[in-house]
Point group: C2
Chain length 116, copies 2
Amino acid sequence: MGNKDCLFCKIINKEIKSSIVYEDKDILAFKDIHPQAPVHILIIPKQHIEKISDLDEQKKDIVSNLILIANNLARDNKIDKQGYRLVFNCGPDAGQLVFHIHLHLLGGRKMAWPPG
Amino acid sequence: MGNKDCLFCKIINKEIKSSIVYEDKDILAFKDIHPQAPVHILIIPKQHIEKISDLDEQKKDIVSNLILIANNLARDNKIDKQGYRLVFNCGPDAGQLVFHIHLHLLGGRKMAWPPG
């Protein structure tokens, strides 16, 4: 399953180890290996979709499900009251490094503005 | 319609002027008055929902529709190839200033990391 050259597909397939915090049949969430905040989790669909710009009406549930899981993880990590930032990077100007859709959940500290 | 004390509800109701770039029956998009990038647009649901953490299974389409519109606006603004960042702020630590869900679309420059 997935794209054999994709780092995140390898994480989904457990070919590469990660610090998994949530998994269901469609979604995986794991800690960012270069955390930028006390809580920094990546939430990804198991389906290999390169970029957020590739979503369409048929696939739009994927992104809302990522966000609902992020909300749950914020509660699990007790950052829901203080707050958290959700970030999707799309393409080179945004610094997207892995071309498999991923949602960043960041919290546990005061986030600055602008967002990068 | 909306919450009478909410800045964004007033913008939706055209009680406060904004630079609108997109509108349909459920969604409004307008330029951020304090832009942090050459393209900086806010995309909001017309329904008054305070925070992204208030979304549930019934309301989840709202957030995916915001993202599909953001993708369209990125294409309209010709930043889809170079890339763009999408940001939701939830609560005080994230710096959420207006308590009506809004998605930030930022692009037209190289975005830095961390995202704030």
